[in-house]
Amino acid sequence: MGGENRYLGLAYLSPYIIGLLVFTAFPFAYSFYLSFTDYSLMSSPEWVGLDNYTKLFTRDRTFDKSLKVTLIYVFSTVPLKLVFALFIAVILNYKLKAINFFRTAYYVPSILGGSIAIAVLWRYVFADTGLVNMALEAIGLEGVNWFGDPTNALFTITLLRCWQFGSAMVIFLAALQGVDKSLYEAAAVDNANPWQVFRHITLPLITPVIFFNLIMQSVQAFQEFNGPYIITNGGPLKSTYLLPLYIYDKAFKNFEMGYASAIAWILFTMIMILTVVAFWSSKKWVYYAGDKRS
């Protein structure tokens, strides 16, 4: 098809190419440049070399705190969410009658989870006399100060994201249903117990999907904004002040565009490092069907 004109395909791509240049490629390069400037919107950007980065890593206590909180958040949220998603997917993968019902029910939070309405709900659910504490008191436990204590506050934000495990679960479930049934029959003949079957048959076969979920979820977790912004507004004591909040404040409240760009680039670099490490290590642990391994 399209044999008569080898540029016809490019014509179909033209919206994408325009968008890519104007809204992605140019901003990407420009933001790198901005990160080496002092730019407060009042005058044109002023080149300051590595000053922004030096300041961030040596003199900015808020950045230290924010970086630390972000890393804790990402490395607790992503594994917790994925393990939970996989656990539920494995249970659903047994031939249960109401599988579609459960799949739909578990997916609902993923549909709504990013919305402001749910962040608002979270404030009520974890308030001092909110739903969670009412429930705890009903079973004779003491209520918890969710938003007053730094560790608890971060935990509520983490829970909000784990609550949205549905999309990861649906992807896992699709992968589990794609596993060749004859392998399970072979395992049954060999008297393997359920854990052995999961560990040695299921898990290796779904590694590509685990890998995919891991990358996507991490990239998103690093950019979490709505939850901490609405629920805790970064507090208390900046315990939920994730880097995207810091970037937002610097860029759109203080209008320090250069400085904010430098933070954005540090965040971007972390995401890239994680992605590259994941890709690199995937050669060791991700199994693709049809792989020829000697």
Binding site: G9, Y16, T104, V120, T129
Partner: protein, 300 residues
Amino acid sequence: MTIATTNVSTVEEMERVNQMIARRHKINSVIRYVLLIVVGFVMLYPLIWLIGASFKTNSEIFSNPGFWPKEPTISGYVKGWQTSTPYTFGHFFWNTFLIILPKTVGTCISATLVAYGFARFEFPMKKVFFSLLIATLLLPNVVTRIPQYLLFRDMGWLDTFLPLWVPSALAGDAFFTFMLVQFLRGIPRDMEEAARVDGANSLQTLWYIVTPLLAPALISVALFQFMWTMNDFLGPLIYLSSVDKFPVSLALKLSIDTTEAFDWNQILAMSVLAITPALVVFFVAQKYFIEGISSGGVKG
């Protein structure tokens, strides 16, 4: 003789083992159901409670963990709908719609054109462009946000809806394009080739042959774009400054900031309204969500 007895006992033995296995299966499946129901209930109860609480009086919201309001009232809806601004929530829903419509239509059209180009044509630099598509799929927005803001400022687009939908209408959401490319690659080309033989040009082939086949995937694209736009908060927060242009997400944030400290039921009532469109669309079209997500993999 001895052989026969052995056989009988083996059969009995096997039956017993089978019964045991059957019983264990039954117990296991009961455990699974109980687990799924308990987990599902704990997860969904906050949402159920939200709906009930939106009909409660303000004093009851923080004292009644149950679903049923003791003294049901719709004052939260009535007063919440009025808002503390000169506009009602209806106005904010209309604004959301004015963003969603061009964004969704634009996404469907541009993603279809681009996916068609990738899946059905050979052209110079195809590999480069496809690699760039994958790269943008993984590119975090956070790194392009500030220059985009400056760009829109220089174009005079601040405080308009344009920054919120134009990039998507130029196939800016690489995920959708990628999903459609994958879908198209799975569709055989026989019909398209037949159309070509009959003298249809590539655009006619796209419109009359490919688009109908692509329909299920396009519905998924439209639904996800609808959902994400409905939930989008940071975009409007950065680009919109006048209250009369606020979409629902910003209006809700505004109502938390401005509503009297004790008018909780107004905020909860408006939260219920804010999630209703997404919930309704999801339940009506859940099949497309699950299919879209399983085939392409989705954020969320």
